[in-house]
Structures are given as C-alpha cells and as structure tokens.
Amino acid sequence: MNIGILLKEGPYNHQAADTAYKFAEAAIKKGHTVDAVFLYNDGVINATNLTDPPQDDRNIAARWSNMAKEHGVEILACIAASKRRGITDDIMIEGGSITGLGTLTDIAIRNDRLLTFGD
C-alpha cells in the first residue's frame, strides 16, 4: 500500500506530529510505502532545523529528517503556508523541501491513501 500523509499542526504544541510519525513508522515496518509527508497550516513548523528541544525529549524535526534519509519519505512544506510562518530553504531540515499545493494534489492522486493528522 502506498500512503501519503497530510500534517496540519506544528511540533510539540499538538500531538498530531507525533501520531503521524508513529503511524508512518508502523506502516514502514509492515512493508508499506510512505510516499510523502506534506506539511500544511502550522504543520510547516515541523521542517525547521533550528528546533532544539530538551535533551530528554524527542526531537521531532530530526525524526522526520531521519525518516526521509532512511526510508525515502519526502518531507514537503507548502510554500504559501511556510512564508506566513517564516519557514525558508535556509532553515529547512535535511531531506525536507518547500513545494506548492500542486504536489499535494499529485500525492493524493498517486497514492492508495491520504491520511490527515491535525487538531
């Protein structure tokens, strides 16, 4: 099964980013393909490499970056949503990139499922 994920809330403030990650991790472990995680609304804040949580807490941005590198999951931030919230190429996590809503449409079309996580 090929899966796309739409993530609509930022890290830490809402659990959405955690649930999306745990779901993607479980899907990959079961042999499914997670094609892309598209970041929308405050979700784009998942993609900044300036995130620096306490040592004893999870690093949500780094987790996405690792998932991109290890499993080829595209981490994509919507450009219009990113501009409103100060997310730019200069501070983008490794494996992440900025793109338009057309890409989300492609993701919706080419995958078997599109799951939304938000609040």
Partner: protein, 97 residues
C-alpha cells in the same frame, strides 16, 4: 471508510458530528485526546454503546495508556499503531479533526 476522532468529546463537537455522518458498518477509531470518549462510566458511555450497534469501535492503546485510562467502555477494542495501519489498509480514511 475508517473514521478517526482525535479530540476530547468534552472539548469539541467532532465525535457528535462524526456520528451523524458515519455509515452503518464503518469502523470508528479514537486517538489522541479522542480516547477520553471511551473511558468507561463517563457522560458519553451511552453514546459509545449506541454507536457500537452499527459500527465497530477502536481506541489507540498507547493513547489510552498515556492518559491512565485502564477501564474502557464495553466492546471497545484497544489497538496499537500496527492495528491502526491494518485498519487503513482495509479502508479509506476520514479524519474528523
């Protein structure tokens, strides 16, 4: 179609709205703060029983554990992220944010 609900029924109309639109036979999965809906003995226990007459009802076990909910409404099945993936394999998804 799989319906997910991730907000507390005390704080959001999502569960009530979802129940109005869900089709008979469609599974409903409670996640995140949504799992408070299936804590046994709260004000929504009757609504959960009514829902189960037409829909199988699940709750994400890691979210139940995180909130200290050990007693869930009768018939509600706790599942892991694995089980969530299985449900998604079997159904299209409708997330009631």
């Amino acid at each position: 179609m799989l319906h997910t609900i991730n907000t507390s029924p005390f704080e959001s109309p999502a569960m009530e709205e979802c129940i109005r639109f869900v089709q008979p036979g469609d599974p409903v999965l409670f996640i995140e703060n949504g799992v408070y809906a299936v804590q046994n003995g709260n004000r929504f226990t009757d609504a959960i029983a009514a829902l189960q007459k037409t829909s199988p009802v699940f709750a994400l076990q890691p979210d139940l554990d995180a909130r200290g909910i050990s007693s869930v409404a009768p018939g509600v099945e706790g599942i892991g992220y694995d089980g969530f993936v299985d449900l998604v394999e079997a159904h299209q998804v409708n997330s009631w944010l």
